[in-house]
Structure formats: C-alpha cells, structure tokens
Amino acid sequence: MTTKAAPESLVQQLERASIAYELIDHPRTTSAAAEARTLGLDPHEVAKTVVLVTPDGFVRAVLPASERLDLRKVRAILDTRDTQLATEEVLAGAYPDFELGAVPPLAGAGGDRVLVDRRLCENEWVVLEAGTHEQSLRLRTADLVELSGARLADLSQD
C-alpha cells in the first residue's frame, strides 16, 4: 500500500522554517480521535483543525481531538456572529492541496487566520493531520503557533 503523503506546500513551509518535525505514516483515519487511537496517543496530544467561514475570510481553529469546538466562544473571539463551519464543498474548493477533512493549520491558502486552543500548549509536541488522512505531522506546539501566526484562545466547550 502506498501512503498518501503530505502535500509539497506543507513540507516546503516546514523546510523553510528549519524546525524539527516528523511525518508519521498510519492506516487511513478520518477523524482526529481515530488518528490518536491508531498512533497510540492520548486524544489531548492530537489536534484537529476546524475551518470556519467568516466575513473576513477563513479561520482555522485548532483544538485537541478530545475537545469540541465552542462556536459561541469563537464568535466572541472574532467579534462576529457571522461565523460558520465550512461545508465540504467550500473546503474542496479552497484547499485543493489537502484531502477533505484533513486541512492542517499550516500551508494552503494564504491569509487564513489561525486560532489555537490553549489546552494544546500544555504539551510540548502536537500531532495533527498532514493534509492527508494517511500521514500525521508531529511538531513542537510552540513552532506550530509561531509558524501559523496563531492566536491562543479558549476554543473548547466547557
């Protein structure tokens, strides 16, 4: 079986940053929770990225696989009530480099704002989908925040 590898745009961004990172092959998974199980990790060590549509463009919200996104909190953070989850059709058009449902917080369409849930910063390293459902990216949480220009916030449901 040939693994569907991380897209070149993602690898190039990581290479330019000269940071340490890993690409981990795994059987195909379609959720961050399943990815965590497959890799033998706790769900709080694995992040999922949720793409949101706002009047000012896309926002990628990154939170632990163990948590659920609180849209009410996100709307307050972004100071707009007009914030919705991106549909599959929108995702397919906006992120052709990535498999549907595997958008990472890095690379792809430029200009997206990124929000990272503070809970992820409790771990030095974080694992997330590398733009494909068959390979994960592990990097330092601090590098993820810096590279993505993310804003730290509380994004999870209480």
Partner: protein
C-alpha cells in the same frame, strides 16, 4: 541540527533536547538515511517504539553509535 564532525549513520542516536525545564528530551535510532546533504532526513525508531520520518531542526543532535553503519538502507 548540530553539525558533528561525522556524518550521520544508520544506527546513530538522534537526541532532541527538551525546551522547558523538567521536560525530557526524546531519543531515537536512525534506521535509514534519506535525502540529499543539506536536506537530509532520517527514518527513526523512537524510544516509545514508533517510527517516523524525522526532519532535524537546530535542536537535534546525533550521537554516534559504535554499532552504526554507513549504509543508507534501512535496518529491519
């Protein structure tokens, strides 16, 4: 990556230091050398048993093992 006098070899140990006080570093054995010089990366088996392609950053060092081999073929 810390450029040591010797080039990395299969069997060498990759060490990534912890960034925060009390945080343990991570170590793994190089199973395969990949890429060109300057863009070299490794297939590594980490101390927790998992394997991955590892692209070293500035905080990674390679500890040469007396059992290391120059071969780029993976040790299986």
């Amino acid at each position: 990556m810390d450029r040591t006098a010797q080039a990395p070899r299969v069997g060498d140990i990759v060490v990534i230091s912890g960034h925060r006080v009390g945080e343990p570093g991570r170590t793994g054995e190089i199973l395969e050398l990949l890429g060109e010089p300057g863009h070299q990366h490794f297939r590594v088996r980490w101390d927790d048993g998992h394997e991955s392609l590892f692209y070293p950053g500035s905080d990674a060092t390679v500890r040469h093992s007396t059992h290391s081999r120059a071969s780029t073929k993976g040790k299986r």
